[in-house]
Amino acid sequence: MKTQQLSNAAGPIDALATHRPTRILRLRTMLHVGMKMMFYDKLKFAGTLFGVIFAVVLFNQQLGVFLGLLSKNTMFVDNARADLWIVPTSTETLQPGKPVPMSALYEARTTPGVAWAEPLLYGGASISLPKGGSEQVTVIGTKAPYWRGGPWNIVAGSVDVLRNPDVMIFEDSERDKLGGVNLGSVREVNGHRTVVGGFTWGLLPFAPSYSFAEYDYARVLLGTPSDETSFVLVGVGAGANPDSVALAVRKRVPAYDVLTTHTFRNRILRYLLESTGIGFTTATSAMFGLIVGLVIVSLSMFSSVIDNIREFGTLKAIGCGNKDLALMLLVQSAAYGLIGSLIGLALISNIAEAMRSPKLALALPWLTYACTPAVMVLLCGLASLLALSRIRKLEPGMVFR
């Protein structure tokens, strides 16, 4: 560097030209100063970070509960291993409406593009407890040997125990509620002596817990006539397009809805969002978390500028432009966003782990982990605008006062 000699030899006017640092150098310089200033006031740093963490935790907690609730309602459809569902018209969520005739099953089986079709029974039953009283369960009747719509997440026994007469699989987390059942326990389900043959984990919808029986046994339990069923599950052949097969099946059973798994899932979600308040409630609290967090960030960044107003004035006087200082604030807010997100996400994933239960699980897909830092950096950048406007208005002349 020969700038110092140049400035006097060639005259200060010419020296102006040599005094333009590259953008990268400028960025590095403002990054350096920004980080030093940010970490210097530990209390303010912690306060600002708290705002970000607050927003991240509250937002993700609300989002996680919300997604958890949604997945409780869609998990059966997600796990039924069917491509198409034949359901009563105007079915909006997984609830049996008026029955579907078995003829629909046969129509489906003979539709080109269909690989298989199986009936599925779905109905409420009561299970009587040893000490008197009863509990409700949702009985699912699933056909051997493929067990479409059958139990998943089996933690004791296997699905094939359902081949034995009078055997059902229940939800493990409901064992106490069902009167302390174990493998081999005997209970009366809708008045029929039933043996506990296995357990699933986490199959708790908002309806009573799912409990599985072989199709014909379920028909007995639910008293369903042999020419009726609740739903028909259909698989399409390899290479066939589910949408066009659905269309073909619909032509044959015009009195019923034929939905792809995807459409059914969306219908359920739409139903939940439109007819229950959970979408609104969740969005409100999530927004509340974000807004409160960002107000904290915004105010503490602003007050940190006020606290250090003389330093900012000095920086301006010695030659930092508004752009440099804006860059510095943006770098700081990005750092707050990133550090706060990492801590917040670590916290929320621990919280999610700690409160994970079949009743209430926080569903936090990897996408939220990936998006949170980006979103927070963006929002912290917005939050820094208040501080930035103060800096823009700052007269460098104030340093002499």
Partner: protein, 233 residues
């Protein structure tokens, strides 16, 4: 455009006025002031409180815009320079020393100085080693890594002088640099400023109340009530 090689006049101010506020609360802090400083001069501005010394220095430093008059610094008419060009003008031409030192509290002594160099385009490593050299020049080489809060007032002002000298800007402006220092320290620091400026050929304008340092001046300009009262050598 003038060139420093043709004219020794570094600062040339003509008919400078500054009005603060407007309407009923308008206050004329400077009234048609003429002022100049030649290359290598050590000029002091003196005068009672409220006479407009800081206002004049702020305008010379391009941190305050005049209301009327012509302010030419190294041939740049800064009264007409666009606002967004002033920062780089200040950066390359002017070094500041403040009454309150105005160091960045979170940066060490050497980082405070290196910052100015980095803003002027120096590589971080070179800026840092130049900063340490400058600190040695002002006599506190061993304090390079200290934060301002761990330095005495005199040491802080030495850091501030080193920062003002960083990159050797041709014009140094100081507002009451001794006001927060005891008499002995104030004198030493001003002598230091004068010596170093002389070595690098910089022009210095110092605003001061302090009669103890008056004899260091090449020329003293007396301001009173926003006007130049007298000049003395």
């Amino acid at each position: 455009m003038n060139n420093i090689n043709e004219s020794p006049r570094v600062v040339d101010v003509n008919g400078l006025s500054k009005v603060y506020g407007s309407g009923a609360i308008a206050f004329e802090a400077l009234k048609k002031v003429d002022f100049y400083a030649d290359a290598g001069e050590f000029v002091m501005i003196s005068g009672p409180s409220g006479s407009g010394k800081t206002t004049l220095l702020s305008i010379l430093g391009c941190v305050l815009r005049p209301t009327a008059g012509r302010v030419v610094i190294f041939g740049h008419d800064v009264s007409t320079t666009r606002e967004n060009e002033l920062p780089s003008l200040r950066l390359s031409l002017i070094g500041f020393v403040f009454q309150g030192f105005n160091l960045i509290a979170s940066l060490s002594a050497s980082e405070n100085i290196a910052l100015v160099l980095r803003l002027r385009g120096w590589e971080p490593k070179q800026a840092q080693s130049e900063a340490v050299k400058l600190l040695a020049e002002v006599g506190i080489g061993e304090k390079a890594d200290s934060l301002p809060r761990d330095l005495s007032g005199g040491q802080r002002q030495r850091v501030a002088i080193a920062r003002a000298l960083a990159g050797h800007p041709p014009l140094l402006l100081a507002d009451e640099p001794t006001a927060n220092l005891d008499g002995q320290t104030g004198l030493q620091v001003t002598e230091l400023l004068k010596d170093l400026a002389a070595i690098h050929g910089s022009t210095v304008v110092v605003v001061t109340h302090d009669p103890r340092i008056h004899n260091l001046a090449d020329r003293i300009v007396q301001l009173e009530d926003g006007q130049i009262r007298k000049e003395s050598l």
